[in-house]
Symmetry: C2
Subunit: 218 residues, 2 copies
């Protein structure tokens, strides 16, 4: 039988997984809102960020309380401190989905993404969803293999990000405002994937005790 | 007399302050490199980021060791966990200075900033330096007043960020590549200030036990 302490630890893990689902859903819907100029969907993403923020604060409070009350050591301690950082990554990913939705809303009734970039942005949206889903699965199963796949998805995201710039720099005729939108969108998707990789790396660190090279300097 | 544990806590605080100085210097030099198209300075900022990353890892290790070995409670525990998050903010600020320097290097021998934007970017650079210097002073002195000032600096940064876009959207004639650079630069300075505010907020939380509203959703 588990004790209360470990039940509470499990509860933190469950909330983290739940947050990956909310964040995945938010980014997926934000991408659709963006490509299809769907104002209602954009608004939904924007208002649903409050729930992600709520879970973030709740998990923070719970982790601090556990630390203070139980004075955990070794593995348990590392679990909690790492959980605190993963929840911060996930909260940030929610913000990035929110930013995408805000650009969709700002340009409504027009799509912020010109036709020749639809494919690239759609692919970026799909990878974003895939990386956070995998990050969730990594948390659930401590699956080190999946974490490696995630790094490859991230490389693919970087490739798409470069392609975005190539298209922007090849006779762009949609004006400066649109170029600004696309530049920011590219950054949001790329950072989203970076944070998902960071979540997975932290799980690997918990499992193996070794931290892979940081996804920093991005 | 202080015990070893508290000496080690102090040492973490000192490294955090040292990191604010390195990050401040990096952003200040990156801004000069950018405005004056100074390749040597840009290269210096880029190579000096390794030192910030080193201090980040060292502080992380030290904090984890302290947590594991000493099982601190209450205030001490909160100090260490908060320190872990502040050091992550500072590491990220170093990355953002690095990004600015990389844009300076990429456009050399030309400045990435057209003349009509020099003033705005110079002001953003100055505020960036000011906010991180203040964050350092807040860490050193737990000065809640200064933390409030910092929020005002951050508002000013947001104002400048908006002005950047206004100029970009008022008959920009420097082409798309330059518009991309400016969009990214604006984002880098703005995020830099956000992280400095976040560092200061964490100190307030330590001192008062109350967390101000998060600087999230940016």
């Amino acid at each position: 039988m588990r004790d209360t302490f470990h039940d509470e630890l499990d509860r933190i893990g469950s909330v983290l997984v739940e947050m990956t689902k909310l964040v995945s859903c938010a980014m997926s819907r934000a991408t659709t809102a963006l490509l299809e100029a769907d104002l209602t969907l954009a608004e939904e993403v924007i208002s649903s960020d409050a729930e992600i923020d709520r879970l973030y604060r709740e998990t923070e409070d719970r982790a601090f309380e556990l630390l203070a009350r139980q004075q955990p050591v070794a593995v348990d301690l590392r679990l909690i401190v790492t959980g605190l950082r993963m929840v911060a990554d996930l909260e940030r990913m929610g913000d990035l989905a929110l930013h995408v939705a805000k650009i969709a809303r700002m340009r409504y009734p027009v799509s912020a993404v010109p036709p020749e970039l639809h494919d690239v942005i759609r692919d970026m949206g799909e990878i974003a969803q895939r990386v956070v889903d995998k990050a969730g699965a990594v948390i659930e199963g401590n699956d080190v293999e999946l974490a490696t796949e995630l790094e490859q998805d991230d490389d693919r995201m970087d490739e798409l990000h470069r392609r975005l710039f190539t298209i922007l720099l090849s006779g762009w005729d949609h004006g400066i405002e649109s170029a600004i939108d696309i530049t920011l969108l590219g950054r949001f998707y790329e950072r989203f994937a970076d944070h998902a990789v960071s979540v997975a790396r932290r799980v690997i660190y918990l499992v193996t005790g070794e931290m892979p090279e940081p996804a920093s300097s991005r």
